[in-house]
Structure formats: C-alpha cells, structure tokens
Symmetry: C2
Subunit: 486 residues, 2 copies
C-alpha cells in the first residue's frame, strides 16, 4: 500500500510541475471553504476542541500574513490588529465563517494568556535598575496621564459634547479614559527593537502605576455610584493593597528567586525546568495581581522584572552553546576562545528569554488578532454616535499626550503618544458602568469606538516618531569588529 502511495505521489508531483500547482489554488481554496462552512454550520459543540485547533491555526496564519505590513515600514502589531478587524467584520459582506471565534471561550483565554506572556517577556527584557532610574518620571507621567483625561472626560468634554446626562455618567466616562493599555505600545517598541530606550521604560513604568491609579479610581467611582459617597478609609485601603502587592512581590520575589532556583536545580537542571520555573512564576504573579484587583498583566510584568539571568545560574546552557564550546576547547588560539565566549555569553544570558520566545510566537499574536476581531465596525455606522466618539477620542489623546510634558529630558511626544492606547481596562470600566446602569448603550458605543481609535492609531504614530528619531545606522566597520553585536 505504501509503495502505491509513493507512486501516486510521484505521479501527482509530475502533473503539478511547472507551477501548474498555482492554477489549482482556487480548487484548494474551495475545498477549504466548504470545510470551514461545514465547521460553522455544525456549531462545534461536540467537536469544540477540534474547532479551536482550527481557529488557532487560522489566527496564527492570518497574523503571519498580516506581518506583510512590515514591508511598508509598519510594526507587525498593526497588521495583526487590522487583519483581526477584517476577519471579525466579514459578516458585513455576508461571510460568517469567523463568527464562532468571537464567542469561543478558549480562544478568549488563550489571547489573555498571550498578553500575560507578552508582558512577562517585556518584564524579562526590562530590569529593575533601569526602572528605578526612570521611576520618578514614570510616576509623574502616570499621575498627569490619569488626572488630565479624567478631568477632561468628567468635567469638560463629557458635559459639553453629551449634554443632559447624570453626573455619575460623566464620572464613569472620565474613568474609562484613564487606564493605558500597555500591550500595544510595548509591542511597537519590541517590534522595532526599542524596549531599552528611556522613553520605552518610562511608558512601561507609567502604565503599571497607571493601572494602580485606575484601579483606585474605579473603586471610588463605583462606590460613589452605588453608595452615593465614599469614605477615606476605603480609598486608603484599596490604594494600600495595590501598592503593597507591587512592593512585596518585588521585594519577596527578589529574595526568594535565588533560593527557588537552587531548590529546583536539585530536582533537574535541564532547560525544561528553567522554562517551567520562569513561566510558573509569571503566571502565579499574574494570578496574585488579579486577586488583589489589579490587571494580571501587571503581575506578569512584575514577575519578569524580578527574574534575572543570575537566578538560573544552576541550570544548563543551551545544547548548541555546549557543543560549540566543546569544539573550541580543543583549539589553542586564546583570541578565538575569547571571541567565541563573547559571542556565546549573550546567548547563555538570554536563554530564558529565548525559551519563552516560541511560547510568545504561539500565543501573543492570538491576543492582537483577537482584539481586532472583537472590534465591531457597525458601531461606527451611527453618525451622531461617531461624532461624539471622535470628540471623546480627541480628549483621550490630548489627556495622555500632555502627560509626556512632565517626562523630563526625553522625546516628550513619544512618551505622550505611547500612553494613548486604551484597551481592556477601559472596556472593563465601561462594562461595570453599564451593569450599574450609569453607562447607556450610546455611551458604551462611544467608549468602544474610543478604544478602537486609540488602539489602531497609535502604532503608526509611534512608528513614525521612532523612525524619525533614529540617527543614521552605525558605520559598517564597528559592526564587523564585534561579532557579538548582532
């Protein structure tokens, strides 16, 4: 039977030679179409796991195709958001295949896991010393970036552009404008290899503090709406809880990490252990953050910040590094040894990041495509709502851009625009407001459009600012002389 397969295969290959294959692509596309159609119709109750496998494959391939935007100088995250918007709104032109993705709870979870992994990766690439350097600036940026949009939304643009609502509705509208969604900005900096510049560090730090402040505002605003007023004690307790979480997790984490490393190295020193420890630590802090009422991504970022290559010193290097060292060890040339060690050191040092990278490749695009998929373009078809939303969006932009002014001697626009994207947190506020009865359907749509516009507009703007800021690349010679500089 197997020889028959080979014969058929060879025959088919001959038939398909000379790029005739490409003429067949419409047929293949048709076959896929009918499978997808069947998939949608069957509903996916019995085979839900299998359909989720399909959706993951579709989202990953769509994400990669969308990365073509890199050829036009745009960060790949923009492509992923846009392809998501396209897939999620195909129903508008009568194609309903991708609708099940929106309601698949497992895809939703995987995308949340994706953004947790992303912030953990970004935490790993940041370090505490650098964050300390920008700590004060980040605090100032966060404070201004929370107060300005809150005041603008609650007392200025809200009442002016949406007259006649209750003061509680304006309070909620202002609150939704406060919290930066750091995922988008961080991805842009990461895509363009700029995570290490001070602007990126300020934005990352400010976004974390921002989340804490946003949490406090949400708690206070909710209390005002439900109880009518709120005591200083409650505000203090919420604030203390959030600050304590961050402080304690960083302090205890830094103390425990080396002991944990030593303890687990006694069980196994392989790469599997290294990866498991790192990922589990990130997920555990994400869980703790959520328990305390913060976004899980804040915990994941803190975990990444705490973990340091030095905590993994008891674990093995990548196999390839060991292999190369073995070959080199037989050669007497001291100069070669030094050069090679320098080239390899970077890879030993980066090993945890490298191990997590494939998990990131697998999960992170799911978050961004999924974010795009849940953008409902129909909300934009109502002209009055759209006009109001544009006004609120301007307030959202202005409120964050001014926060860049207090960032000190850095590229102020970059910091300001970096703080602009709103995301899940804003939407969570809106959902809570709706459940409390203060946020109407109309205001909810306005908030959704604001989130869409801040999210989609920021990547190209940051990209433009970063490319303009760039000095011309370093001269070729210096690169040649340092082989490890890649």
């Amino acid at each position: 039977m197997i020889n028959y397969f080979t014969a058929v295969k060879n025959r088919l290959e001959k038939i398909l030679a000379h790029r005739l294959f490409w003429r067949l692509t419409p047929i293949i596309a048709l076959a896929f179409t009918s499978v997808a159609q069947a998939a949608t119709e069957e509903g996916g109750a019995a085979h839900s796991a299998a359909f989720t496998f399909l959706w993951i494959a579709v989202l990953l391939i769509a994400a990669k195709i969308s990365n073509l935007v890199e050829k036009f100088g745009q960060p790949s995250v923009l492509g992923e958001l846009v392809i998501g918007v396209i897939l999620g709104n195909m129903a508008l032109i009568g194609i309903h295949w991708f609708e099940p993705i929106k309601t698949d709870p497992i895809i939703t979870f995987l995308s949340e896991l994706g953004v947790v992994i992303l912030l953990f990766q970004i935490g790993l690439e940041s370090n505490i010393a650098k964050m300390k350097q920008v700590g004060l600036k980040a605090f100032l940026v966060a404070t201004v970036g929370v107060i300005t949009p809150f005041v603008l939304g609650t007392y200025v643009v809200g009442p002016w552009i949406l007259p006649g609502l209750s003061s509680n509705a304006y309070l909620f509208l202002g609150a939704t404008l406060t919290a930066t969604s750091v995922g988008i900005t961080a991805r842009v900096f990461k895509d363009l290899n700029k995570l290490q510049i001070p602007e990126a560090q300020i934005v990352l730090g400010a976004a974390v503090i921002d989340d804490v402040l946003g949490l406090i505002i949400l708690a206070v605003v909710s209390a005002i709406v439900t109880v009518g007023s709120v005591g200083l004690g409650v505000i203090t307790w919420i604030t203390a809880k959030a600050i304590l979480f961050l402080a304690l997790s960083i302090i205890i984490g830094q103390i425990l990490a080396p002991y944990l490393g030593k303890f687990f190295a006694k069980i196994q020193t392989g790469v599997g252990m290294k990866l498991t420890l790192a990922v589990s630590f990130g997920l555990f802090l994400a869980f703790l953050a959520q328990m305390i009422g913060l976004a899980p991504i804040v915990g994941a970022f803190a975990a990444g910040l705490i973990l340091d290559p030095v905590h993994f010193k008891y674990f093995k290097d990548p196999q390839v590094v060991e292999d190369v060292k073995e070959v080199i060890s037989e050669y007497p040339d001291q100069n070669l040894k030094e050069k090679m060690n320098k080239a390899l050191e970077h890879h030993s040092h980066r090993h945890v990041e490298d191990l997590i990278e494939p998990i990131g490749f697998f999960l992170v695009p799911l978050f961004f495509v999924h974010t795009g998929i849940n953008v409902n373009l129909q909300t934009m078809f109502n002209l009055p709502v759209l006009m109001v939303a544009l006004g609120i969006t301007v307030a959202a932009f202005v409120g964050k851009i001014v926060s860049g002014l207090v960032a000190g001697k850095v590229h102020k626009w970059l910091v300001g625009f970096g703080m602009v994207p709103r995301g899940e947190v804003g939407l969570i506020f809106a959902v809570i407001g709706r459940s409390l009865g203060v946020v109407s359907e109309e205001v909810f749509s306005v908030i959704v459009i604001m989130v869409i516009l801040t999210t989609l507009a920021t990547p190209p703007i940051l990209n433009y600012l970063l490319k303009k800021m760039d000095n011309p690349p370093a001269p070729q010679d210096s690169v040649k002389n340092s082989p490890s500089a890649v």
Copy 2:
C-alpha cells in the same frame, strides 16, 4: 519610595541569611494555603482566567517536582501521572483545593492541546522512510492487537467474568479494549531517548492504524446497537474515509509543504514564521482528523511525519548558529570550520523541533498530570467491581502483548507492552456506550479501572525492558573523537 524598597529588601535579606529562610517555609506554605482556600471558596466565576493561570502554574510545578522519579530510574511521565493521581484524590483526605482543576474546561483543552503537540513532536522526530520500513509489521501488530482483545472481551473474558449481560454490552466491552493510547508509550520512548529504535517506530505506526481500526469497530458496534444490524456499505464507507484521510494528507502534504514554505518565506523568513507554519500545520491536520472521526492526535502525528527540515530551507537558522559562524569565518583553519559546521548542522537541522520544544515543555505535562487528576481512586474501593476490573485488565494486557508476536525480528515484549496503554479512546467508547444504554455504571467503572491500570503499569514495565535491552554504553574514546555526537 524605591530606595526605601531597597533598604527593606537588604534588611530582610540579612534577617533571612544563614538558611533561616527555611524555617520560614511553613509560614509561606500557610500563606499559600489560605490563598488557595480562598480561591476554591470564591468559585472562580469572575476571575476564572486568573484561576486558570494559578492552576497551570500549580500543575507545571507539580509535574517538575514529580520528575524526581528520574532519580529512581523511572521515566518522568510516570511521575507526572502519579502526582496527578495524588492531587486529584486529595479530597479523600479532606483537602478539596484541587477539585476545580477537574472541571476547568480550559485546563481540559490545554491538556488536549498538549497531547496533540506531543504527537506532532513525535511525528517530527519520526520520518516517513523509517515508517515505511516498519509499515507491514506495524499493520500486522495493529490488526492482531485489535482483534485479540476484542475477541477476548466480547466472547471470552466478558461473558465468563460478567455473566448475564446483553450481547451488545459484551460487544462494547470488547470494543473499549481495542484502541491503544499512544501518548503514554511515546512519552516513555521519548523520555529514554529511544524513539528511533524499530520497536518504537512499530508501536507508533501500529497505534495510528489501531486508531483507524478502532474507529471502524466503534462505528459498526454503535450501528449494531442502535439499528440492530449494519450494512457492508456503511463499514466500507467509514473504512475508506479513514484510509483516504491518512493517504491524502500524507501525499498532498508532501507535495504542498515545499510550496507553502516558499510562499510564506516571501512574507518573512524569521523563526516566528517557521514556528507558526509548523504549529498551524499540525493543528490543522489535528482538526481534519477529528472532522473525519479520527483522534486529533492521529492528524498531528501525520503532520509531524510530513514536515521535514528541507521544507524550511528558506528560513533563517537560529541566531546563535549565525553568530558562531561569523566568528569562525575569520579563521583560516579549514579543519576547525568543518568540525564546527558538523556541530552546528545538527542544530540547524533540528531547529523546528527545538522551537516547538518550549511549547511542549509548557503544554505536554498538563496532559499527563491532568490524566492522573481525573483518575478516581474511589472506583477501586468496591471489591467486586475491582475483581472484575482486574480480570478485564488481564485480558487487556494479554490481548495487546500477543500482538508483539507478529512484530518480526525485534524485541517482541517491548512492542507488545508498548501497545498496552488504553486511554481517551477507550473512555470515549465507554461514554458512548453509556449514552446508548448498553454500558452500565458498573461496567463503566470496570473500564475506567482498566484504563488506569494499563496506563500506570506500562511506563515502569517499558522502562525495565528498555534498560535491560540496552547494551553497555559505547567506549569513551569514540565519543571524544566526534564532538557533534552529543
């Protein structure tokens, strides 16, 4: 504030010095306990994503701790199964913390995804040429390994040990004994680095064919139970569908893979693209297999078998390989270059496997711990049921061990025991039988115990056989002369 953190941290570190830290571990354990308790009580409706983060971290760390069994010469999969059984049955001693894991649909999905990734990895490490060599033997082993337990269960041990049931009940009992769950065996071979020996290849091939045969038997038996009889046409159609799927996916896959590689390399040649293509392909075939009525792992295995390093020739090597090559390129020593290229070739060649490995480290243990967690030890407390189950389990063992007899000139016991583990497929049969009303609660418990025993007993037996079979390790000199042999 940050300086205050540092001060507190230093202070704390001093206090904790001299291993005093270890005296604190009970307190830390207590803190964790109360968090876990709170978690369980709160139910996890609102914070379900966060709790799933916690469960993933707990399962991963538990899996790694369980890998201590390696120090006692056992394969790590056994440790993962056993720690799962322990966590899943803590309720028996009054600890209910881990109960939510059993019903968490996301953990269930991730564990299914884990076994799909495992079979995909195993497919990547196998290759079609080798599978062809063992094709006939695998077919014989599969056929004998399906017919013997089916006949034993339906006509011999079933009626003898469980007298008075309907003939349909015996039919279902026999059917549940047919399908090997390849995950366990494959992990043992992989843990001990034995995937390339002919016995492993025969078992893998036979397990795939086995699944096809099992599918046919299930369809036929279900038809007999519901309709009362079954036409030859239906049997032929089911059989043809399954064989066509495997044949076509292998043929079309082999033809398309290079074109797809070329096409996607035009978008991006980075490691992200390489990984995405591979994973998406595996998930897509897993989906197709399920659509056709086969287990998703069969599709994932076929996908791994089809993908070959050569399909990724347009994509980049790992960065470390490029860096090392750059250092070496400046050295005139031709001998060194050759040695280094030889050492690096293996890593370029293995790159896709290496990229998927971290995803495997993350997801595969979830499957095995989760399998263990769902083992309900209470089913074993009913003595009459347990006695019957032991009888059926003996039939399950004997039925598969005899299949090793037709495996030709290889270690027959190894092949036979390799086919023993039953898993999801047997349980799926049992669930279908129960829903059709032919499998009673008692018979269901018997089947569950049979699955537990075949699953838990096989890893140590295979481990013993493999270690006994091993020749003494190759002399030290030959290893030293070939640096790439690691």
